[in-house]
Assembly symmetry: C2
Homo-oligomer: 325 residues x 2
Amino acid sequence: MKRTPITLGIDIGGTSTKYGLVDVDGNFYGEGSIPTYAELPASALLARLFEAIDPLLQNAPTPVELLGVGVGAPNANYYKGTVEQPANLMWEKVTPLADMIQKHYQVPVFITNDANAAAIGEEIFGVAKGMKNFVVVTLGTGLGSGIVVNGELLYGADGFAGEMGHTTVDPDGRDHGSTGLRGGLENYVSATGIKRTVFELLAKRTHPSPLRDVSYNQMTSLQIAQAAEQGDLIALEAFEITAKILGMKLAETVAYLSPEAIILFGGLVASGSLIIEPTKRYMEEYLLKVFKNKIPILPSALMDKNAAVLGASALIWGELRKMKK
Amino acid sequence: MKRTPITLGIDIGGTSTKYGLVDVDGNFYGEGSIPTYAELPASALLARLFEAIDPLLQNAPTPVELLGVGVGAPNANYYKGTVEQPANLMWEKVTPLADMIQKHYQVPVFITNDANAAAIGEEIFGVAKGMKNFVVVTLGTGLGSGIVVNGELLYGADGFAGEMGHTTVDPDGRDHGSTGLRGGLENYVSATGIKRTVFELLAKRTHPSPLRDVSYNQMTSLQIAQAAEQGDLIALEAFEITAKILGMKLAETVAYLSPEAIILFGGLVASGSLIIEPTKRYMEEYLLKVFKNKIPILPSALMDKNAAVLGASALIWGELRKMKK
């Protein structure tokens, strides 16, 4: 009986690790999630992961053939297959993650960071199908970016290209907890960034606001979005400021890269018109004439799906496509 | 008798247009320059250009075979072969420059802007030989940049990638004469930019300085460099400010692109340690840890040569190499 070709996608986060068996059309043949236990070494995570995945491979609804494993992980080095000093995982200084997984499955393994995985996911399964030049910006706790140029992910010389979250908005601006750099984009544009902006506005303005009853540690970007939707002036201004900074930086991204489209991904983006419409307006304001009214800002098509796992799996579908060229 | 394969490089500037016959090692088999006459249409320039170049082709020191023509021109669209609304030339709205030249020589013609030509020139003939990922920044009247990724020039979707000179330093900052945008990098870092900084400092500081005897229209970046070399405090501070802004922006470039090296080109760079050393220092300050102490800032190797023509000719050598792959 013919076996269905599938790839295994794994997304390693600080809290949980997700996995799924995915065919070339993005259909799942099994998926799941286990806690990461960030304080344990990578080998412990992998042992539990293999234990969870192996039965899925054997008992899939139709027989499957595993073509490769794609992994999204923090500080993943695509060229070396290593994870190097991730901030949220207490792993060794350098973990040869691709080799460790390859030993178990005996198929090609590719790893990259989650924003790159999101970008290749959009190209294979999402709104970037058929595009050769685009940028995906992921807005979560931080801000990540994945850049596709001439149909391929941009890794650069070191494999660390696309660190847009750490480009500077204001050299004398907000501290970053782990990099030691100041005023970087993700300190302003991310779930954490918009909360920091809300706290500046709670100090600056005097409007009453339900956000005045929530502590810094308790406040979420969802609460800010809900307040904005109910017309709260502090929350609305925070979205406007966030969109202005993001729009200006995206104009810069366009000047560097001349993409066909920019795709936004993440919880903040689900707030739809609160962020996409004003970001587009500000981006246009800062664009050179040759770029004006040409470059759409699109919400990700994968946000309701298991996007991180789809993206990790797409990494392999992308490599297979490259080999066919 | 065997003919030597050569390419014709043409660099079209607002004032003069340079040309040269160049072999695969960067040797010239004839070169020259004619005034551009910016107020006349492109066809008039080309007629005079062909008149000047045709005898060179016939009377080269050894018989030559023309393989292709590479052109560096303002607002050149690589994909379409057109020049679109250049600020300094009173040409038609869209000039089909590549077609017009191809009709005369009956060989492949490629066009691009001068910063891209400089980048490919460094790759074929200069300090970027063997590099796959690097950025060339040209500091002239304005600031241009040419980006090489995976061994190929980055054009992006529209052919207009690499417009680093128009990324924002300060959204409320200095006006740009022709784009209508504010606070762009070339308003600070370029021959004009450093002069504008000197004029701010002449207002802000009270030190005596020979630069206080020169009008805005008379002052050149060479005068500023000479004053700095003689210890003038205004000029030294202007170089320091210029290097700080450039260094910060180059850290951003690195975060986007992860290049092996950054190459600086142009008159300001000839001032050597006045610009390269402090730019490197500031760039390191703003780099993420993964990029620190890895990425050299190199002066162009072509500055004493006919670099613009070499770059334009390298465009063809680069295309021929791509075809061989």
